[in-house]
Structure formats: C-alpha cells, structure tokens
C-alpha cells in the first residue's frame, strides 16, 4: 500500500521537477505519444492473446430458468438461449454491473431466534455496486469532458455535458460534480481495501497502485481547475498542437499540468499489463457472453481429443458369462465367443 503510494508520489515529483527544470517536452510531448501508442497496442495485444485460446466448452453461468417447456417461463436475460438474450445480458453487465448488483453480505450467527439455533442472515449489500458504478460513470464523463481541449470549436455535446455537470452553479470556475464524485468513489474503493479485513488480506500492490494513481490524476486535475489555475487557453493550444502532431512550445505552462499528464500517461502505460484489462476482458468472459443452448446446438471444441473409452465389446468380453447367466441379451453368446 505504502509502496504504491510512494511510487505515485515519486512519479509526480519527477514530472514536477523535470518539467520545472526544462524537460517539459519530455513529459508533455514524448510521453503522451508513447503512452497512447503503448496503451492502444498493448490492449490489442492482450485481446489477441486471449482470443488465441479457444473457448472449448459452452459454460455460461445460468442465472435463472432455462428455456425448456412452453409453459415454463424462461429468464431470457439471466439465462439466455439466444443471441439477443446474450446481448441484453452483456449490456446489463457492462452498463449496469448486473452481477455486482446481486451482492449480499452474509452474517453467520451461532444463535438466531428465528431459527431457534444457528443461522445465517443475508443482507443486501449494494455499496460496492453503487460506488463502482459512480466511479466508472464519472470517470467516463470526466474523460469525455476533456475533449473540449481536443477540438476547436468545442462541440455542442461537450458544452451540454459541462452545463449538466455544473448544474449546481457553484463557484467560478463552475464546480463540476463528476470530479468530486470520482474522488469520493475512489476514496471509498481505497478505504474498503484499507479497513475491511478481508479486502486488506487479498489486496496487492497491483490493487493500490491504480487507486493511488487515479487519486493523483483526479487530485491534480481538481487543483488545475480550481486552485493552481492553469493558463487554460495556453493548455488548449498546446494540446491541439499535440493532436495535430506539430507540438508547440511548453513555455509558460505550470509544472502541475505536466504532473497531471504524466500520471495519466502512467495509467495508460500500466493498463495493458495489469488487472485494468478487465475493461476489455469483460467482453470475453465465457460465463457471460455465451447462450445456454448447448443441448440445442452443438458447440465445437477445436482441440477435442479422440474418443478413447472402455467399449461395449470389451465390456461384454469381460463379463459375458455372468451376463449370460443373468439372462442379459448379448452380442455374442458365450459358446460363439469362445470359438
């Protein structure tokens, strides 16, 4: 935990010191190009890596009633048997975190009055679902809002998004809700890793690092907007020049901006090699993206080994006499088999 925090702080410090010492083009120009390239290629490489292994068996986790008799109502989304059903299941999974929505918390009691003895109570527990959803959606919105720096004139949908985001009309520059929610959600996700005993036990540096990194990104972003206000016009000119592959001078842009950019680039560089590949991986999950129709349509395993089993002929050879005695029909009668 500490290690990942220190690492994030170190990355930030290096970016600050470096850009202040005149290496801003390194952090502001070279790194973003590199990180974007690594991110795109890396994610494709990971998806190709997964796709190279076949899905030998059709193993959806069925979350409801199968399709069977006409008078029995199928759970068409949680236990899909058609492509449309699978599509709906995936949409719910990806857009609304359907599975996480089921989350419960079990509480084991040695004595429960209702059971007159030991018992387990299951509480609905939607906190993780709620904060995870908040985090992911705010992250998406914040990401989309940033396109105002990438386009001139600013497209209407971004302006619209900003108006909605700042609908509370607090302060100047206008306070954006998404940034704050994002930070709160991240702190929740970090907090449960720190204070929940089970989570602390399973958490690795690989889990803390992206959280600290994101907190760093959101933190510096908030600072850039509200506190250490950056020359926003200059930043936009700079970013536009990057996207047009003709970078202009970084002169006059505050080091904090380069810290922000460097942390974002670190995230991009880190993603393809980490658990953050779940953003692409969830689409590949065979327990979710397959229809439960393997009795209806044959699923092919490309490496299906040849059949090898104890055949009936071998079986009858072994037990012929006993089978004859028991009056079981035989392929070869004992006297014929002996010949």
């Amino acid at each position: 935990m500490l290690l990942s925090l220190l690492l994030v702080l170190l990355i930030g410090a290096v970016a600050w010191a470096g850009s202040a010492a005149g290496f801003a083009p390194l952090f502001g120009v070279a790194l973003p190009y590199l990180a974007t390239a690594v991110f795109i290629c890396g994610m494709i490489w990971r998806m190709v890596y997964w796709a190279k292994s076949p899905v030998p068996f059709r193993i959806p986790t069925t979350g409801g009633q199968e399709q069977s008799l006409a008078f029995i109502r199928q759970a068409k989304i949680d236990c899909p048997s058609t492509r449309a059903g699978v599509f709906a299941r995936m949409v719910l999974e990806i857009l609304l975190f359907r599975s996480l929505f089921r989350n419960t918390q079990a509480d084991v009691r040695a004595h429960l009055p209702a059971s007159n003895g030991p018992g387990t109570i299951y509480y609905s527990s939607k906190w993780l679902w709620c904060f995870a959803l908040m985090f992911h959606y705010c992250f998406l919105l914040v990401f989309l809002r940033h396109f105002r720096f990438f386009a001139e004139p600013v497209p209407a949908w971004i302006t619209c998004l900003e108006t909605l985001d700042g609908i509370m009309q607090i302060g100047a520059p206008r306070f954006f809700m998404t940034g704050a929610i994002l930070l709160v959600a991240l702190l929740f996700l970090l907090g449960r890793r720190l204070f929940n005993q089970r989570l602390r036990c399973i958490s690795l540096a690989n889990d803390y690092f992206p959280l600290w990194l994101l907190i760093g990104i959101v933190g510096t972003g908030i600072c850039l907007r509200y506190f250490d206000k950056t020359e926003i016009a200059m930043v936009k000119v700079f970013i536009m020049s990057i996207t047009h592959f003709s970078p202009v001078s970084t002169q006059g842009i505050a080091p904090l901006f380069f810290v922000h950019v460097t942390l974002v680039c670190t995230l991009l560089l880190y993603s393809p090699f980490s658990k953050l590949t779940h953003m692409a991986g969830v689409f590949f999950s065979p327990t979710r993206n397959l229809a439960n129709n393997s009795r209806q349509k044959r699923h092919i395993n490309p490496w299906n080994p040849p059949k090898q089993y104890f055949t009936y002929a071998e079986y009858e050879n072994e037990y012929r006499d006993a089978m004859a005695e028991a009056g079981l029909p035989l392929e070869k009668a004992p006297d014929k088999a002996a010949e």
């Binding site: 997964w50 199968e66 993780l128 089970r198 009795r295 104890f310 029909p329």
Partner: protein, 545 residues
C-alpha cells in the same frame, strides 16, 4: 471418524480471520482436512501419470523428479486450450464480492477459501511466468514461484471447493472458480496427486459401468429387488428392461440411485412411473452410470466416461436418452456432452415425449432430456393421475443442486412437479435457492467420510437455511434432484436440522402416482405406514382386481 462438535460449537470454533497477508499463511494437513489419496493400482489402471503411494499428512508427497517443469508445462498448455483460464488469470480486480458467497469460506473462515484467493493461488504462479509485471517485479507484483508447499496448498484448496459456481454468479466479470478448480485438479493429476474417493469410482465407472463396480449380473439383481419392493407397496411389479435393443428411450441415471438409501426410492419411483406410462425404454448395464466422476478429475476423463452414453444409444438403437435426477451429471450433459462426444449417432432423433407428443426442442442436438422436464410435461398435459394427499404427512422444501441451477437453469421444472405431488411446499430463504443456491457441502467428489466435519462446515449455509424453514414452517422433508445430494444431505440434515428427511423428486411422484390396477396404498415407497390410512382387507383386494 472423530465425533462432531455440536452445531453451535462448530460455528463458534471457526478461527478468527487472520491479520497476516495470505502469502504468509500455509495450510495445516491435520486429519479431517483432506481426502485420502488415490491408490497406486487405481491410478495405474487408469493410465494416470506417476501412480504412487503417498500421504497428505507427510512431508514428502513423492512428487516425480521433474515435477516443477511438468506442472509449468501443463499449466502453459491449459492456458493455450482455455480462453477462460487466461482471462480469469488476468482480469480479476480483487473486489472481494465473491468472498462470502462461498460455503467453504463461510463455514471455515479460512481466507484462502474465499474464491478470490483460491484463484489467486494459481494466479500468483501465472504472474511469474506469463505476465510482464510479474516477471519484472516478482513478489512486489504478487508473483511467486512453484515450490512443494505451493503444490500442497493447491491440493488442499482444490479439494475444498465443490465447483458449485456460486461465486461466478456474483463476480462482475463472471470469473468461475469451478473452472479454476477443475484445472488445478488436472494439474495435480499430472504429478500423480488425486483422491481415493474420486479415482476409485472413476476406475469402477470406466471398467464396470458404475461407481461401486457392481458387475452386470449383480446390478440386474439389485434392480429386480427394487422392483419386488415396488410390488410390495403397490401390488404392481414394474418392468425392468435391460440392454434391450430398439427401445425408443435409453434411460440413464446415477448408479447411486440403485445402491444407496434414499436414492433407491427415487429409482423405484422411475420404475413405477415408466411402468404406468408403458414406456418403451431400456436400462443399460454397460452405461449404468449417469454421474461422471471424471468431471472431478479432468476434461478428458469426463469425456471418456461420458462417451459410453452415446455408444450405448447407438448399439441399442435407441431414439433418445432420458436422464435421471443428478447434479454434476447434468452439468456434463448440458454443457459438455455434445461437445465431447457428439454429434449423436445417426439412429437418434430429437426427443419427443411418446405420451404427450411434446418435442423437446431445447435438447434437439444432445437428444437427452432431464426427467424433471419429462415429468413436468406429463403433468402439464394431465397424463398422470396423482393423489398428492398421500404426501400430506410431509411439509417439503426443495434444494436446488448447484450444477442444474448454475450450469443449466433447471429451476422451475422440478418445482412444477413437486407442487403437483405435494400439497405442502415451502421455499427456503431466497438467498439460498434457485441460482443463488448453496451446495450440500460435499459435491465434486468430496462426499467422503474422512472429512465429515469439513463437510458439515461447508454445508452450514444450506443447513442453516433448512433449519430456518424447519423451525418457522414445520418443514420435515427436503426434496432434491441430485444423487450426490441424496447421499450428502441426510447427514447434513441430521446435523443442522434433525428430523428432516431427504428424498429425490420421483420418490414423491411415485408415492402420489395413482397406478392402473394398484392395491390400496397403505405405505410409501420406504414401506413406512401412511398416516391416517388403515389397511383394509376388502379395499386391498378390490384394488388388486
């Protein structure tokens, strides 16, 4: 077997959740925490690698000399074969949503029984050899190397998972621990580590056709005895067709139903139902096992045992296969069978009920129908005369078996049948049924005596739910559609909710079934007197005419 602590003590004796990080903890192989190892001659006969004598409690497990390379290579090979494995190794974010969804974790409070850590045992090894960060940063990035204690750890926790898939339902990415456990078990088999209670049935199934290795003539004898018992209860001796060619339907059920109480009553139920319908069917002594302990061993072993079903359907020229009540058997049939051993032999046709004419289009390719689907269809079309009042002395609940629930979606068919044959039906709490059902605690080949306390711990969530409805609604019976459940739930019920009996669905069907020409029923299939029904000489004679 050591004496079990009382249920409350069992819960109280769960150790506190440790403060250390999981990498600092190692399991202790104390008696009762592991299943007995497979016997060398069993493994040899099955051509399994490195058959050897070993003891899980001992320091030296007799791993072959090149064990590390064998395991690394086997792991790499499986990554190439299963996209699921690559994906599940890569994308877990360790959100912890799966933690308290596992019955083994709830019962033992052992952190490595949280599905996330069960997978992390393997994931840590994956990181070292297959990820850039793991290669560069090693331990800092959660990577670790193979050593013998890691192998032991994998064994310990791969056999404290019943492949029930409850965690995969709650996982936001659908990471399925059953998939990981199956693959870890495969890896362990590469160095000769397996358990007796799985491998012995595998051997028996493979060479004699059923779990206990009962030979064909004895198998027939036992079934005949069950038919005699049917006659005692109903006055009708059902047909027992064996290995009959050109029958329309081949019936395959787990052999546990032929051998073990209370499964035998379910089997009697099948015999009576088929007799009443005058079904053109046959049993097979060669394919006399529906269950598939191969599926607890490796994908190839599962395929091998499963191959007999289609082979026998082809030899006997059956049109389709009807499958009995079983859990993992149906996971294999629904999700693997056609892929393993299809396409079906040319003589088979899409299943059609000869009684109602219903075409089971959902089984058009495997050509195999679940008996609960078959019977629900009969009841819907009013083809059975039922007297549910014969089951009035029971208040029943229904245990959804993990595999039909989360690997098939068979939820409402058995309920439809159960409600038609029993007047008193109560559901257990909603977080413990249907797709959220809890395992009996001993699925996937763990229903062995030597780990009874562990089984009771793992069965705690199911036991608690059962006790809840027992106390609240007077439930005294639990029906299920799984042969392993019929073996594992009676001790579980005895322990957590004494007084609850366990039966298969078709035992209750046959109890309620009014058969043509039957004698007055004064007892149920267990030959226990039906309350409120007096044996009446004249009535019995009239019924017999």
């Amino acid at each position: 077997m050591a004496k079990l602590p009382a249920p409350q003590e069992l819960i109280a004796s769960r150790p506190p959740f440790p403060g250390e990080h999981w990498l600092a903890l190692k399991p202790e192989f104390s008696p009762g925490s592991f299943c007995y190892p497979a016997k060398p001659d069993t493994m040899e006969r099955l051509h399994m690698p490195n058959p050897h004598e070993w003891d899980p409690a001992a320091d030296d497990w007799g791993l072959p000399e090149n064990w590390e390379k064998t395991l690394c290579d086997a792991f790499a090979e499986r990554l190439e074969k299963h996209r699921s494995l690559k994906l599940f190794m890569d994308i877990c974010v360790r959100c912890g949503a799966c933690a308290d969804k596992c019955h083994f974790f709830l019962g033992t409070n052992d952190p490595k029984n949280m599905p996330v850590l069960r997978a992390e045992l393997l994931r840590s090894l994956y990181r070292r050899d297959h990820t850039m960060l793991g290669k560069l940063l090693g331990k800092t990035a959660g990577a670790r190397g193979w050593d013998k204690s890691v192998v032991k750890e994998l064994f310990y926790y791969a056999y404290q998972c019943t492949e029930c898939r409850r965690c995969s339902l709650f996982c936001p990415y659908g990471i399925d621990t059953a998939e990981i456990t199956m693959i870890v078990r495969e890896l362990l088999h590469e160095v000769g580590l397996g358990t007796h209670w799985i491998m012995d049935p595998v051997k028996n199934c493979s060479f004699t056709g059923n779990h206990l290795g009962i030979q064909p003539h004895s198998f027939v004898e036992i079934v005949e005895m069950l038919a005699d018992d049917c006659e005692t209860v109903t006055g009708i001796r059902p047909k027992t067709p064996f290995n009959k060619k050109n029958a329309e339907i081949l019936f395959i059920t787990p052999s546990g139903d032929v051998f073990a109480d209370p499964g035998i009553y379910t089997f009697m139920g099948y015999l009576l139902l088929f007799h009443q319908l005058d079904l053109d069917y046959t049993l097979s002594t060669y394919a006399s096992e529906g269950g598939n302990f191969g599926s607890f061993t490796s994908f190839n072993m599962a395929k091998k045992l499963n191959a007999k079903m289609y082979a026998e359907a082809e030899r006997l020229n059956a049109k389709w296969i009807l499958g009995g009540e079983c859990g993992h058997m149906w996971r294999v049939i629904n999700q693997y069978m056609d892929t393993y051993n299809g396409p079906t032999p040319a003589n088979m046709i899409p299943p059609t009920s000869p009684v109602t004419g219903t075409v089971f289009s959902n089984a058009a390719s495997t050509k195999m129908v679940h008996i609960a689907e078959f019977t629900a269809d009969l009841i819907y079309h009013n083809k059975l005369k039922l007297d549910p009042s014969r089951n009035d002395h029971i208040v029943t609940t229904f245990h959804d078996s993990c595999n039909p629930s989360r690997g098939m979606g068979l939820l409402d068919e058995p309920r439809y049948v159960l409600k038609a044959v029993c007047n008193n039906f109560v559901e257990m709490p909603e977080n413990t049924i249907r797709e959220q059902t809890f395992c009996c605690g001993a699925g996937s080949g763990l229903n062995t005596e030597e780990i009874m306390e562990l089984r009771m711990r793992a069965g705690m969530p199911r036991g608690n739910a059962l006790r809840h409805v027992q106390q609240k609604f007077g439930v005294n019976h639990m029906a299920c559609v799984c042969a392993i459940d019929r073996a594992t739930l009676p001790p579980l019920a005895n322990y957590w909710a004494p007084g609850v009996t366990v039966s298969g669905l078709h035992e209750l069907v046959a109890n309620a079934l009014v058969m043509t020409g039957e004698q007055k029923r004064t007892m149920d299939l267990r030959q226990e007197d039906l309350p409120g029904v007096e044996e009446d000489e004249t009535d019995a004679q009239e019924g017999g005419e």
